[in-house]
Symmetry: C2
Subunit: 242 residues, 2 copies
């Protein structure tokens, strides 16, 4: 439920673009028109538009207007890296039948090596979780999660098999804010070949991510290993001349 005005406006305009009511190449109504329509100031409209611009939906043109540069058909991809989405959210949007298998669930303590790799302090207690994501009966993703126990107390294998983010947000009332992700490709390891349906592929697309909560604490480090032909990461950026 969006409470702030600029979020509501953002959402309304985005929906019009995604549904094709305003199509590729067209110009949006002017900021002043929107301000009158939504009974707010131009500043508030501009805030909504700046989100749309940052997400690659529209392109503001000085003196001309704001043009739509989004093609609805362009999102064949399963995942979007231009935002934070949990696996459950992403697959839900893509209407796939998904099963999560919990391969391992234990509590470990971060040693120096793990600390270097993940960024957690040495001695931190962590939930170590391995999961396999089965999409339409094919094992496509191998996830390894490290959750900081002090911030995510109460995780269970059962929760891990459903949605950890659902638990963190709705039960622990944690607010997830910022994440940082790296995308690389690597040769498949023995474990990848064992756990995933890689067919003839002998490499995987690897996404590692660090996630922060609203207290500024990094509470999650995750590595996801994907079958390369089944995933695609989309990102949009705005050049800022600095």
């Amino acid at each position: 439920m969006p409470k702030s005005k600029f979020e509501q406006i953002y959402r309304m305009i985005r929906d019009e673009i995604e549904s094709g009511q305003i199509s590729y190449g067209e110009f949006l109504p002017s900021e002043n028109e929107y301000a009158a329509r939504f009974n707010c100031t131009r500043n508030t409209v501009r805030r909504a538009l700046s989100i749309l611009s940052g997400e690659g939906f529209v392109l503001p043109q000085h003196g001309r207007g704001v043009q739509v540069i989004w093609r609805p058909d362009a999102n064949r991809s399963i995942f979007t890296i231009g935002g934070i989405e949990s696996f459950a959210e992403a697959t839900g949007r893509n209407q796939k039948k998904v099963v999560t298998r919990v391969n391992s669930f234990k509590i470990i303590t971060a040693d120096e090596k793990l600390s270097m790799k993940t960024g957690f302090d040495i001695g931190s207690e962590l939930y170590y979780i391995e999961r396999v994501r089965v999409v339409d009966n094919r094992a496509l993703i191998f996830d390894t999660n490290y959750f900081l126990r002090s911030e995510t107390e109460g995780l269970t294998p059962d929760i891990a098999s459903k949605s950890i983010y659902h638990y963190l947000e709705d039960e622990l009332h944690m607010t997830i804010t910022t994440s940082r992700r790296r995308v690389t490709a690597e040769k498949a390891l023995k474990k990848d070949r064992e756990l995933l349906d890689l067919d003839s592929y002998d490499f995987v697309l690897v996404v590692t991510g660090q996630v922060f909560n609203s207290k500024g604490i990094m509470f999650e480090y995750t590595q996801s290993r994907h079958r390369p032909d089944q995933v695609c990461f989309v990102e949009s950026a705005v050049r800022q001349k600095v």
Copy 2:
């Protein structure tokens, strides 16, 4: 040369973070302090901070302050996907010795198949350019570019061997604004094996991108095929509850 105030402020704070003067975990001075220091209003400070937040440098915390969540050592990567950087810019920042070999340069017309793939209109005249990027004497990247001729008139193989973006911005005075990129991994093709030093890797990391100019015209479609162990894409995102 940044002209606007918020850009200058953004840059100053970013430099302090990147140089380690304000280190990981610390809080920035408050918005009011910055406003007084830079002799501007809080709004202008907030605009600079919102860029830093969007780029994953800082994490604003309601009621508490703005915390630095950037580790300077974390950027071993060559490329950043969280922004628009030309190859020349990125390699320049990473202090590598780089040579660009132009493998092919011709003018073609978009047929239906190419139009579907790239998004250019059927019949568009395009510069077709193939380039190999040699970093520290190793051929690591194979680039295929399509530039819309009507917007990039005057491209030559010589320009292609240096920096096309330099030509577009400084000579044609084009303003590059928004880009959209997709990251996937694919099996190496014969051409990849011929042109690149792939060693034992038989797959490549593929980045395709569409770039728009300030007139809202998509003028570039590019596919870059990278040796997977030499590249890494970093992205940061801010979750917005909508």
